[in-house]
Symmetry: D2
Subunit: 355 residues, 4 copies
């Protein structure tokens, strides 16, 4: 995975290999990075920290190899490495023959001729979002000094909805408060109902999906460009790199397909001397270019494909049907842990756009 | 707009300038191109051909300047140019001061310091999809020889739905039949109800949005790659380049966020000696890589922002509030004309992936 | 050919096709372009204007299709098209079977399976430098307003040398004066001797090569970056795109391989409050980054491969040896006409670096 | 440094930081890698192994973090890390104020505002070629199975020349034999004379430069493309990423500027059923595309800028002239250690072209 233009992000590693990591190129020099804050962000994503997540326990301690001197960026590419430790590779024995439905086992088998590392999902594991979260945690500190704040919340899980963002009025302090939590919601009551859905799925050896809503506030108007250089193109190409993401929408998104133009258009007005819009159905992007309002998008995540129930599959060696029961430790719902990954993608994009 | 890797597409032009066009680099040499078929595809997108579209009438006759000799591709970049003819630039006089809500007028003003060509939306006009449709029409002929068919239909308009694709079983002949029509639907009855919604909106000086569903059948398993090299990343970065697109989803998409893993996972089986899936909730893509089933996605289009009703805006010169009544000839619904653009984006991507 | 990062240049066309042209993306908006000056630059490269060049006569009149309104750049991609007119395609009949030594006939035949347009060299013709010169002529006007001047001279032809640049002291007025001429040299006497070598070669149905020396003065220190992002990497990747270029060197270049470190190192000093170097053996680039001194490089051009003499080749159909006598109108020396192409490459790079 | 298209190479690290390394993306899966052979290649470049090199001693032991399982490539990005150990950072104290002539100290200071890691040259150190040599060593093993061999020799040092390649007839066994040595020459006598020049320079606290000649044999005809996609553009953009490289030429290169067309053109003939050329003045590249003959190029390296002699410089804090005596351990001639780096660049390019 190599992404980007001004900020170039390379992510490497396999779930049960020696280590995973990232190279971030294009960071401005002379930026102080608080690595305790970086670790706090990584802990939000790390497995084993919450009842609703997998029992695999990883410290996810990033080791910075380059690009930082005395706590300041040097301008050279920043490489950080995270060791893999708590791996139970024997859990994955028969995956190479019998691909798990909903996983990349089969498609990777075809692409790599069976030579890919299947243990723990290999390079396709959700674990690969750890380097992304690291990169995002670095970028958001630099964004902060430029007046930009990024935050996201669990918008819905298996149909249970949180209160949505008021898209035309998102405060940095709300985003900050969401960014500090493992299971961030705007309406505290929603969390309880969501956790119940997750627990139900888990107890029936099943899993559930959900939606993450993310915003970046404080971006100036005029960033990005028309057609394929648009903000939506850039953000979506990064967010779809997060495993299990199957949809993205900006502002009113799919709902705008059911609206009249007179409802969907965001009226302009002057507020505090700045051009603003009364609503933000465009999600802060018009013609691919930021309009100065918060950039808001929603990303849909499918239910974790690894479920304990027996499933129908095929045996790629005998070329016949087969039954599969996935073992190993899996999240009954990936959505809470996807929140910091989505924020990170937004932060990497936003810094690339602002520089 | 420059997009792509193996197929590189550059689109240029402004709505009321001399001409618009495309440069397509990376086409294989020795491919016969039927330019009558290309013109048929372009006529589907061209304005003035249907009661539901703008009254601006353009022949959209592409002139090929390079890359084709005796009807065969030469392997050199193919450049095609389409002249602008029926332009009423006086309709756009006050746009430079008073930006249209929902349009790129304001964001382009900020980005280009007021030097952009505002006539007809300039470089941000939906007219810029004509070169994309040209490129797609060329690519799909080459894809056809490699067993790949692309087609799309109007999935919904202002909430009125067509019959959706049966995602696990999409025949090339269905896709072909859809690709030959201006207002392609699977269920003929839907068209009538949709046209009524469009006519209603038009008569109240308003507009409506909708959703396009697109499929590419016949792609082999194993194309594209993990993380940001994934098929979803590549397709979305191109589809969001189509003006007014605000959301995209693959397979079950946002609906998968409300499904259990046991419902959403697509069971594998052997059918005709090939690995297939019984359902296709993943939209033909697992871990970013094609799985050999049809690649299916839906793109949401907002209602045309140009409406006849008076709207609230600002005067960028006097820095005060202003009222705006958009004149000119506009589509009450862009969705039917967006269908060939979405197909074209899918075709450009698919050829890039297959080569 | 697509090149670049901030300025993206796409060149299209074939020598005897309908037209050739360029799409230049990333130009800043609001820049006034003097198209009479652009035409003067293109006339320097156009064939038929000098005794030493081919007799093919082309007006090379660029038609701008987009990206310019009322003489000012709009910020949208600028597309310019140049029609081909004076084509004698019958001259090229047997090229498809018997490739010309030193030309791309054979390699293009292999790459494109014989479907490439061989007339006039097709996409490999030196004629494809016309769009590059157009792009350079636009870029240098924008550079001028940022204090950067680009110019080049015929450094040598078949061993006859002009006076070289004093690399540590190159005035904008010298560069301007060179940029206004067809056969630019610093030492007027050199031109006469060079023209004699060209005439001798022509009269013996042969051709000669030479070297172009180019400089960009006024660039600030700190542009570009380390390793493959270096100025030398970027410039060379563009300059080798000019047909017949077989070598490039920066500053002392190959001569530095015969120097001691104490001779080659450029001592720093303060001059007029700025850090300067007393010599400029590094050609204005240290560690890939500009140092504020003129960027200076030399590009070697091989003798025109099209010569009137009979040559040894092969017949690709009968797969046997063959003799070939190239007919048609060819330059006995391409070097004077390569000067504006080299300047253009430098200008496109410099604007991309400065923005 | 991120380079490439099919093979994407990211290099990270600073000379006296924690570690340096590379991420190589795009390697085919299922390729066995002999890491003992990789280490042998890295030992050729490693410092401290020869009288003519710096006394800094580094084992340069690469640790593979990802992309390899049981000695075979998995298709996922391969990351390798090399620890820095023998660092004497106190040697570099005054560099931050007084830039070394011929080094990137000043230009990096301007670009990074003084925040770059200056110790040992930081990200601009020749040490950054170690990850490149690692990447090349991996790529050449994969190339070998595809019939391609890469090798280089010390072509000249301070004017003392080795026997050049016979460009039209380069055997894989010659290239292999060169690739196994620290100071590879074709004519053994040349090495002695070269070493004397190096020893002389060293004893007078000075340094010398030289030229590396490199060849890739066994590449098929038809690789790469016209204009900026040409083989020369791609190779040069990578080779100029090697610190101290100031020039590159292909085939006859700069000498062709002094040749007649009739001398420089390479006649075609059929040899063993294949199209070949009797000479190889084009260096295996016509119109940017390989012609099936060996690709041959020469890269010029300036003398090591770090010399023991006192030099003129400036004090960036007091903004006044200053004298500088560089301490630390430096190579009196970098050329022998540049040979494996040039080979590596050629190998990375060749694999990218062949895939």
């Amino acid at each position: 995975m190599t992404w980007g233009d001004k900020i170039k992000l390379s992510v490497f590693g396999e779930s049960h290999g020696t280590a995973i990591g990232a190279v971030i190129d294009g960071l401005p020099a002379g930026e102080e990075i608080d690595f305790e804050e970086v670790k706090r962000q990584m802990a939000r994503r790390a497995p084993g920290n919450d009842a609703s997540s997998t029992k695999r326990k990883e410290n996810d301690e990033p080791v910075v190899l380059s690009g930082v001197l005395s706590g300041m960026t040097t301008g050279a590419p920043l490489c950080a490495v995270i060791k893999n430790s708590d791996t139970h590779s024997s859990d994955y024995k028969n995956i190479s023959r019998i691909p798990r439905p909903g996983h990349a086992d089969y498609t990777a088998y075809v692409k790599y001729g069976g030579f890919n590392d299947v243990r723990g999902g290999g390079h396709f594991s959700g674990r690969l979002t750890a380097p992304l979260v690291f990169a995002g945690a670095v970028c958001r500190q630099i964004l902060r000094r430029r007046g930009v704040t990024v935050g996201a919340h669990v918008y819905s899980i298996y149909g249970v909805k949180d209160k949505p963002f008021d898209m035309a009025d998102i405060s940095p302090s709300l985003l900050d408060s969401l960014s500090g939590r493992y299971f961030p919601v705007i309406d505290g009551a929603a969390e309880k109902a969501m956790r119940e859905k997750i627990a139900e799925a888990q107890s029936s050896l099943d899993s559930v999906g959900g939606i993450v809503e993310c915003a970046a506030a404080g971006l100036p108007a005029g960033l990005c460009g028309p057609l394929a250089e648009g903000a939506e193109s850039e953000i979506s190409s990064l967010v779809f790199g997060i495993p299990a993401c199957k949809g993205i929408e900006f502002g009113a998104g799919f709902a705008s397909a059911q609206m009249l133009g007179s409802e969907n258009n965001d009226p302009f007005y002057y507020g505090g001397g700045e051009v603003k819009t009364r609503t933000n159905n465009c999600g802060g992007v018009l013609g691919g270019i930021t309009d100065g309002m918060p950039v808001v998008f929603r990303a849909a995540f499918k239910p974790t494909p690894s479920i304990g129930m027996e499933q129908e599959s095929v045996d790629l060696e005998s070329r016949a049907g087969a039954r599969l029961t996935v073992r190993g430790r899996h999240d009954p719902c990936i959505v809470p842990r996807a929140v910091p990954a989505v924020e990170a993608a937004a932060a990497v994009w936003a810094l690339s756009a602002v520089l």
